[in-house]
């Protein structure tokens, strides 16, 4: 196939959904299965348009629901295809059954979660509750801050997923509304650059359905007798090992990307103005931009404040988090979702869990904001910084702060 794109990198203005569609095109994906859902819909419309225009040479399957979206891709991957889709919120909930199965079958596909708050109350706006609800299922999850990061990460994700020490599916999470519809200037890499970065997929002969090499996929495994217990443990441990191996694979893929394309994103966590910082905010996704502005304003006031952005959320980069936060006086973790069981944000839970490994453990408290499309402004982050500085003084970890409670 001749190169679809012009040989020189070019800049375009597009939103996050279009950026993801460009990434799918450049990654030479074989199969996309689509079903529309707000705020992902324009993403699948772009894919359909790119196929119709001959830009994207992929088998596109328009199915009757998200459950089938992922199921079709399961079939495609087992037949050797590189596969992609995107969904969010109720769609993700509906596809949960095959979603649950994808990592166990070690299927290296990529699925965007254009994050949306979950029902109920009925809502079509952004929030991380959907992706957070599936955080322990075994998918790799990376969160994007900018439209450029959406494009780059979606291509990078294939390199991670198909790494032979990983072989796991990846969610590239980009925030509904803020990234899905927010347009920005984006550097589009050339097809040659992407081809140099990402080789064609090779068949995974540990799980393939091909009459030339018959095998049974997913026989009953486990039970109390025979080889069952140890066999089951072997699969589970292997999956956990693949997850841990992903940390190095993600770092390597980002390094390769920087070498080929010349753009560098922090692979696991990004430290922003953390030199000499005494307190820090921990953020996830598109909120990071406003948070960085608030940190800049605090710095201008002479406050020693920094920010740690979590890019890779699953596997959780425990060492990188500890290394970034160890020795601080206080940390404020800002979530765009809720842990109902703990009355705090889920990222906060992860951070305080990781901080058990710190030599000087900072006090940490939970902030929740940006639910159902609410804006977390620099003012919100400014107040959060003040609250965290107070925490650094008195060490009193208060109740979870709901940033938009009085908006």
């Amino acid at each position: 196939m001749s190169a679809v794109l012009k040989p020189k990198p070019k800049a375009i203005v597009c939103d996050g959904n279009e950026a993801a569609a460009w990434a799918v095109t450049l990654a030479r994906v074989d199969m996309v299965a689509v079903y529309p859902i707000t705020p992902q819909s324009s993403l699948v419309e772009y894919l359909a348009k790119f196929v119709a225009d001959g830009k994207l040479n992929a088998e596109i399957v328009d199915v009757e629901g998200e459950h089938s979206v992922l199921s079709v891709l399961h079939g495609g991957v087992l037949a050797g295809a590189r596969a992609y889709t995107g969904t969010c919120g109720p769609g993700l909930a509906f596809m949960f059954e095959p979603y649950l199965r994808t990592p166990g079958m070690r299927m290296p596909m990529v699925m965007s979660i254009v994050t949306r708050d979950t029902l109920t109350p009925q809502s079509v706006w952004g929030g991380h509750q959907d992706a957070m609800s599936v955080r322990e299922v075994g998918w790799i999850q990376m969160y994007c801050e900018t439209v450029q990061e959406v494009l780059d990460t979606t291509i990078l994700a294939y390199k991670v997923a198909e790494h032979r020490d990983v072989m796991l599916p990846v969610n590239v999470c980009h925030d509904g509304n803020y990234l899905s519809y927010g347009a920005a200037r984006v550097e589009l890499p050339t097809q040659e650059e992407v081809d140099a970065f990402l080789p064609p997929p090779s068949t995974n002969w540990h799980a393939a359905l091909d009459p030339s090499r018959p095998m049974a996929i997913d026989p009953l495994t486990g039970g109390a007798g025979g080889p069952g217990p140890s066999l089951f443990v072997r699969y589970r441990k292997g999956q956990c090992a693949g997850m841990q191996n992903a940390l190095a694979a993600i770092e390597a893929a980002h390094e390769d990307w920087a070498r080929v394309v010349g753009r560098r994103h922090a692979p696991l966590v990004e430290s922003y103005r953390m030199d000499d910082a005494e307190v820090a905010l921990v953020t996830l996704g598109s909120m990071t931009g406003a948070a960085k502005d608030a940190v800049d304003e605090a710095r201008e006031r002479g406050q020693r404040v920094g920010l740690v952005k979590v890019k890779t959320y699953r596997p959780f980069p425990v060492r990188a988090i500890v290394s970034a936060l160890d020795g601080l006086k206080a940390v404020g973790v800002v979530d765009r979702s809720v842990s109902f069981g703990w009355n705090c944000g889920p990222l906060y839970q992860d951070v305080i869990g990781a901080l058990q490994f710190a030599s000087q453990r900072p006090a940490a408290m939970s902030f929740i904001g940006g639910l159902a499309g609410a804006d977390i402004t620099t003012d919100h982050f400014g107040r959060a910084i003040e609250r965290v500085r107070a925490l650094a003084q008195d060490g009193q970890v208060g109740e979870t702060v709901w940033l938009n409670e009085k908006d």
Binding site: S68, G75, G76, A83, L209, P211, P214, M215, P219
Partner: protein, 437 residues
């Protein structure tokens, strides 16, 4: 040794009209004198008996013959008489217990039935249904030459009809296949396997109960993209087809995916403990429609899945039964062919000895009764010809014969039987209407 085609005689249908004998005499001796017929219907009081060559497996006529003039053909099983070797000693007639080889004065030597090379004149002449040429064995022999794509020793229940369906269908479909067997009896008996062992020789997988047709879509589409001809086949139970699997099935049919989807309908969730499904008929006992002081089995009629699939305008839809194997094989061939063009759906009824409560030896008889009472109707559909009956719905046997054969209907009260009869009449009229009267 394989089995052979044969002429069967049902004396209860015979009225002694002699048409068969006239036809045979005409075909074999050019005379309408029944004395020249090689089939003889003999009156025994009010009943009739058959005197004709049975083409025995261990023929005494052959072993009695000192001149090697009689020999059993290994290919078609017919015992041939060779006039050039015969010495007219008639010892063969002494050996035969069936009056199947006798001296014919006009011919001047013994004569016997040669089945008219597989197209017997007597059978064609019988319009009473007393004589039939049974060719099922021909089917089994032909299929016997194909590789069984499942290993021996699958752990199905004794007399399992579903195992029969699996082995027959996959033999015919062949090894260039990816097979989906959603949770149920089919993988339950070990086709996908347990802990590293598998019972299937082609690529096989457990889809989810919900997504069989969608996973096959992905497989088929990618092989097509690569220019490879691979059959994408489902062997699914009725629950994975009609209930929780229906959405993906309907979607794939609507898109015209090139899939062969075979529903093995045993009218419930038999593998997991015989619970009710959308295909369970009215009145049937299941473990979730139990019989007690108030409960009297299922209170709703079954969902008519093959008709629903027909309304998707599939490339091919058919119903079949293991009691009618020629018909099943004909439909299987057409279904395989149709799946190369679009969505192909085959609905095969599979009586379940365990869940329906009847002796395992009676499985095929139960399947036959279901069809002969019109409880199960055999038909096929394609978009060009519409729906066509594969078997006449006229003169069905009484439904009681079917209901009484099954333990799951043992509790039925007269009003429930009345409901079943009314539903049956309605269903028959519906299919007749679709078949054009």
């Amino acid at each position: 040794m394989g089995a052979y085609n044969t002429i069967s005689f049902k004396p209860e249908h015979c009225d002694g009209c002699n048409a068969c004998m006239t036809a045979c005499a005409t075909a074999k001796a050019g005379s309408d004198d029944v004395v020249n017929s090689r089939i003889q219907i003999v009156a025994d009081g009010d009943a009739f008996e058959l005197a004709m060559c049975r083409q025995c497996g261990d023929p005494k006529c052959v072993s009695n013959c000192p001149a090697a003039a009689l020999a059993k053909d290994g290919a078609d099983g017919v015992i041939d008489w060779d006039g050039s070797k015969c010495v007219n000693c008639l010892l063969c007639t002494v050996g035969c217990a069936f009056g199947g080889i006798v001296y014919n004065a006009a011919a001047g030597h013994v004569v016997k039935c040669d089945t008219c090379d597989g197209d017997p004149a007597c059978v064609k002449a019988c319009d009473r249904g007393a004589l039939k040429y049974l060719t099922t064995a021909h089917i089994y022999n032909e299929v016997g030459d194909l590789e069984d794509l499942f290993v021996p020793g699958l752990a199905g229940c004794q007399g399992c009809n579903t195992e029969l369906i699996m082995r027959h269908t996959m033999r015919r479909i062949g090894p260039d296949t990816v097979l989906a067997t959603p949770p149920g009896c089919i993988p339950g008996m070990g086709s996908v396997g347990y802990n590293g062992l598998t019972g299937t020789k082609v690529p096989v997988f457990h889809p989810l109960l919900t997504n069989t047709a969608s996973m096959l879509t992905g497989i088929k589409r990618h092989y097509k993209r690569q220019g490879r001809e691979v059959n994408a086949v489902a062997l699914a139970g009725d629950g994975g087809t009609a209930d929780v699997g229906f959405q993906s099935l309907s979607g794939a049919a609507e898109r015209g995916e090139q899939i062969l989807f075979i529903c093995v309908d045993n009218e419930g969730y038999m593998n997991t403990g015989m619970q009710r499904s959308g295909c369970t008929p009215f009145g049937a006992w299941t473990s979730t429609t139990p019989v007690g002081e108030r409960g009297k089995g299922k209170t709703q009629d079954a969902k008519n899945l093959p008709l629903l699939m027909m309304m998707h305008n599939c490339e091919y839809v058919a119903t079949a039964s293991t009691a009618f194997m020629e018909d099943l094989y004909d439909k299987l061939d057409r279904a395989i062919e149709a799946s190369k063009r679009g969505f192909s759906y085959l609905h095969i009824y599979s009586p379940c000895t365990t869940g329906w409560r009847f002796p395992s030896a009676e499985n095929i008889e139960v399947a036959r009764k279901a069809v002969e009472t019109n409880f199960v109707m055999l038909w096929e559909f394609n978009p060009t010809d519409g729906l066509r009956l594969s078997r006449s719905l006229d003169e069905p046997r009484p439904i009681d014969e079917y209901l009484e054969a099954l333990g799951k209907y043992r509790h039925l009260e007269p009003d429930q039987v009345g409901h079943i009869e009314a539903t049956l009449r309605k269903n028959v009229e519906q299919i007749r209407g679709l078949a054009g009267g």
